[in-house]
Amino acid sequence: MSPAPRVAVTPISAFDESHRTAPHVTIRGLSKRYTDATIYDNFDFDIPRGKLISVFGPNGCGKSTLINMIAGLVPPDAGEVLFDGRPLSRVKFGYVFQNYREALFPWLAAFDNIAYPLKLMGVPKAEREARVERLIARLGVKIDLALYPYYLSGGQQQLVSIMRALIVEPEILFLDEPFSALDYEMTLFMRDQLQRVFVETATTTVLVSHDLEEAVYLSDYVLLLSRHPARVVEFVPYDAPRPRTDKTMSEPGFIATKAHCLKLFQREVNRA
């Protein structure tokens, strides 16, 4: 086979270097009205590629609505979301719900829950099993996945949910307050699990969080939203090296970033 000519036929190719630095997701003119409030009014934003961003903002500002519109769970009234210029229907993505208990299928063993998206894609059984095994090895997961989900702890169930989202090798991963139903000990453990997933896969990740410490600790950028109709207050970078640990949280950079975000957040909250 002769190599393809360097002249780009399609403007977008995953192997084009300039494209590597281009935004992954472009959100243009997104609008959403509920009966009592306008949540988004002509909202524009670019999600950078291969970064973990946290969405943070006052209660009811539409953090979850944003990722639900991007992931197609909630239809926007107007606007467009494109992934490298393609619509959602042509994109493999993963979505992790807050309520893992209701998001997993209790009639399937944890292993089969993880493999289910592959089944939907028509992947043969032997390959499904091989791919799940590979993912388990890659993430170093030590859970008995032959069990039904209801025999697992909350954190383990959420880890299974995350693995189910990752099994299709998504180009983007959405998580809607994934750890808010877990106790603090489990939350700390799961943050590090998620960080490991991110370091391992470098998947563009959008995390909705209601915990500022978590938002800063995990992300490359914190997207601070205003009260509705939501605007971008600031897109705060945080570039501490990974893997981050408990020590990271006592470093000056972390404390300064968190304080900065908190200041902006409180200004938004106090705005009448």
């Binding site: 992931a71 719900f97 309520n99 209701e102 998001a103 997993l104 299928f105 998206p117 209801y150 189910r164």
Partner: protein, 251 residues
């Protein structure tokens, strides 16, 4: 400790038998009306093993199973169909609730006219009653499917039919089994009543009725116990099947 706990249900049985024996021994009730436990269980054993009671028992079992099976075959697909669209269900909800509330025994004369005297009438009245109970439960099971679960399947790219078969159906199974258990109990009630009256010659209902007519009190109690054992066993059977196939119910 666990062993003594397992024996707890037998305490009530022992008390009942003791009180019954005592009443009999003290002649508090005319022994013609209330024979001794020993005489009753002897009659039950004799009837089941060698007498007519065993054959009647089998007849009732078969009729109950036929009617429940017919009801399930009709009501489960229909319930899924109605439940998968709340609009459709709401439009027929009144009809279902109305006929579910109508005593099935009130339908005997109608079914007699339609199907004549015989098994077909008994089985179809019982199937009619059981079907409505099953239908109602299946439809609610489908309608109350966890929204997050449906959304999770959708977000993973499941088609409408995949969502229906992989998620909605599984979600409705616990409620479907509630319907089946209630349905089989109702079917048994209707079958036994039908066997008593409409031109019947066999079945547990007929056995009870005939024993009463002949003033054969031990025979009557034996038939009542046989009917009770049947009802209890059917319920238990469905519970065991449910635990086996719907292991996630209530989790």
């Amino acid at each position: 400790m666990t062993k003594s706990k397992a024996l707890l249900p037998l305490v009530g049985v022992a008390i009942l038998l003791a009180v019954w024996e005592m009443v009999n021994w003290l002649r508090l009730v005319d022994p013609v009306l209330l024979p001794s436990p020993a005489a009753t269980f002897h009659t039950l054993w004799e009837g089941m093993v060698a007498g007519k009671l065993g054959a009647d028992f089998l007849k009732t079992v078969l009729r109950t199973i036929y009617s429940t099976a017919i009801a399930a075959v009709i009501a489960i697909p229909l319930g899924i169909l109605l439940g998968s669209s709340e609009k459709v269900y709401r439009s027929v909800e009144f009809l279902i609730d109305f006929f579910r509330s109508t005593p099935a025994s009130a339908m005997f004369p109608l079914f007699l006219v339609l199907f004549g005297v015989g098994d077909r009438t008994k089985i179809s009245v019982a199937a009619f009653g059981a079907a409505l109970v099953i239908l109602f439960n299946v439809a609610y099971g489908v309608m109350n499917a966890r929204k997050t679960r449906l959304l999770a399947a959708k977000v993973m790219g499941a088609s409408r039919s995949r969502v229906l078969f992989d998620v909605m159906l599984k979600e409705s199974l616990p409620q479907t089994f509630v319907g089946l258990r209630n349905g089989v109990s109702l079917a048994l009630v209707i079958i036994v009543v039908a066997e008593m009256f409409i031109g019947s010659t066999d079945g547990l209902g007929q056995r009870v009725f005939e024993a009463q007519q002949l003033f054969d009190m031990p025979g009557m109690y034996a038939a009542i116990f046989a009917a009770g054992a049947l009802g209890y066993t059917l319920n238990l059977l469905f519970l065991v099947i449910e635990r086996r196939f719907v292991h996630w119910a209530g989790r």
